[in-house]
Symmetry: C2
Amino acid sequence: MATIEDVAKLAGLSRSTVSRVINNHPYVTERKKQLVYQAMKELDYYPNSSAQRLRKQKTDTIAVLVPSLTNPFFPFLIEGLETVAVENGLQLLICQTHQNKDKERNYLQLLQTKQVDGLIFTSLENDWDSIAPFKESGPIIMCNEYRSEATVPVVRLDQVKGSYLGAKHLIESGHKKIAYCGNNKGELGADRETGFLAALDEYNIEMNNQWIFRDTPSIETGKRILRTILSLEDQPTAVFAGSDEVGAGIIKEAKLQGMQIPEDLAVIGFDDLPVAQLMEPSLTTVKQPIKEMGQKTMEIMVSMLTNQDKVNEDVIELPIQLIKRESV
Amino acid sequence: MATIEDVAKLAGLSRSTVSRVINNHPYVTERKKQLVYQAMKELDYYPNSSAQRLRKQKTDTIAVLVPSLTNPFFPFLIEGLETVAVENGLQLLICQTHQNKDKERNYLQLLQTKQVDGLIFTSLENDWDSIAPFKESGPIIMCNEYRSEATVPVVRLDQVKGSYLGAKHLIESGHKKIAYCGNNKGELGADRETGFLAALDEYNIEMNNQWIFRDTPSIETGKRILRTILSLEDQPTAVFAGSDEVGAGIIKEAKLQGMQIPEDLAVIGFDDLPVAQLMEPSLTTVKQPIKEMGQKTMEIMVSMLTNQDKVNEDVIELPIQLIKRESV
DNA sequence: ATGAAAGCGCTAACAC
DNA sequence: GTGTTAGCGCTTTCAT
């Protein structure tokens, strides 16, 4: 493995000059520059990035914590994050927490061990209090998921409004018995529930506790929820699914059980993932501007990395909107 | 930022001893070990990973090149890769090539700049000849996609058999006019086509060139293909979609156009992704053992990383199987 | 415009 | 068992 020393020797120059060429510094004669390039090529030289990182004290890498990549929401979020990252010469280190507190905490060590320059949460398992101290080690941003106690920039959607919109649509379509799916661990989940209940309240509609489901979102969860609904004496006529995947699972299982959607059961999803329009009937849903959320987040990260002084604690809220299709 | 030096001073020991404790070396008195732990805690010390990497000349990181994370096939593959990686103390650096030759080539620099210890291709845009030289810089494996010229271990499926199975099922269900979707850039695509044509050949069925579609797989592609099929004078009665996403797009669009599946058009997918069972009718498909493929690949990577001598050029072939559902 | 020298933080011989 | 020392490969003052 050739080192910068080898290149310098072969080019008959000093290490400094070679380094200047590598880093595109001004004030290097064109002639010597060529000499260096030639030597680098001849030796098949590439700078060792561990050495560069150690010396420069930065990695140009950002950790992105996601619960799982098999939930299609996150690949789309990453798409947005990556676009802006690449434009700014940053690399993404994608970390799956699999909803595990310990794993999440371990990934914070990436910041402490200087393996990444910054970190982005797209979900959060641990309490904010246990996260806060890590701000010392580098910029942290919350994207998608959020905590009001969080003392870092937050890029989020108005979840209260989102679920309010969804519930209202269901109500205005004539439904009074509406089931609700969604975990309420994080603030995101709590806000969604708030918005949902606010709509019900506005129309003086009562909630039945049997119609609340708190499982983690997945297709299987949707199927299970549908079966539970069928086993109920007092059955809802509509269901607000916490995600398109749950909504899809509900629709699929409902049809398997011989139900008509939306006649026997109206379903509304959340996210507007590709699967929403593939379903039969297509899934009415609350659309999140996922990619934009990722882009905005990375823009903030970039500015935090450059303007280290200007501490940013803003909350950026992106628009959310109802997409009417056939399942309601 | 505390360094190992600070810890050593505070503990009243040498850097070496601290280092030994960090790396769990034997032969350190329990008493001094405790002293070190205490000092580390007091100083909130974490070893700088760039320094460790530079010194140890390894990163315990493996680059995984995927075309895109929004194609759900790859998150599942990554799931398999990650399981085994984590068991062996390895980290994954996930790199999206977005089907771009230059990006793909640039990611190879990760190996040259010693930012990763090994690299896994799950797809390949460039010629093998242009990849081969990079073997010098570290272990490379192909997983999923493959090239017969490749001089590295390959973990793959019998694609010829897969598409043969699919085509045969279509034929035995009475179809003689079968459309085929799939790109034929890589060897994987070519093999699939071979298997497909072999089945046709076996049953003396002719292929119509108008029924061949070579676009990149996506839901949109599926929709477009269906519309093209409808515009044909001589229309196929069945279609072998190259992936479940294409199959799903075809089914969705077909129903939009008032067709009955499988009566008016039988559809068979590939992969067995979650969307296959969500469709109405559910999608008959050729199932790939995606997770297993990832696991096997990472096991080989681990062994290459440890037994550096034993050069492994094996081709591991995993089983592939037909899943009969309702779309045929 | 270029080179010499110091040092980023760590590990691993080697010596005792 | 523990400390001393050299050095991984690079960048960046500082001096010229």
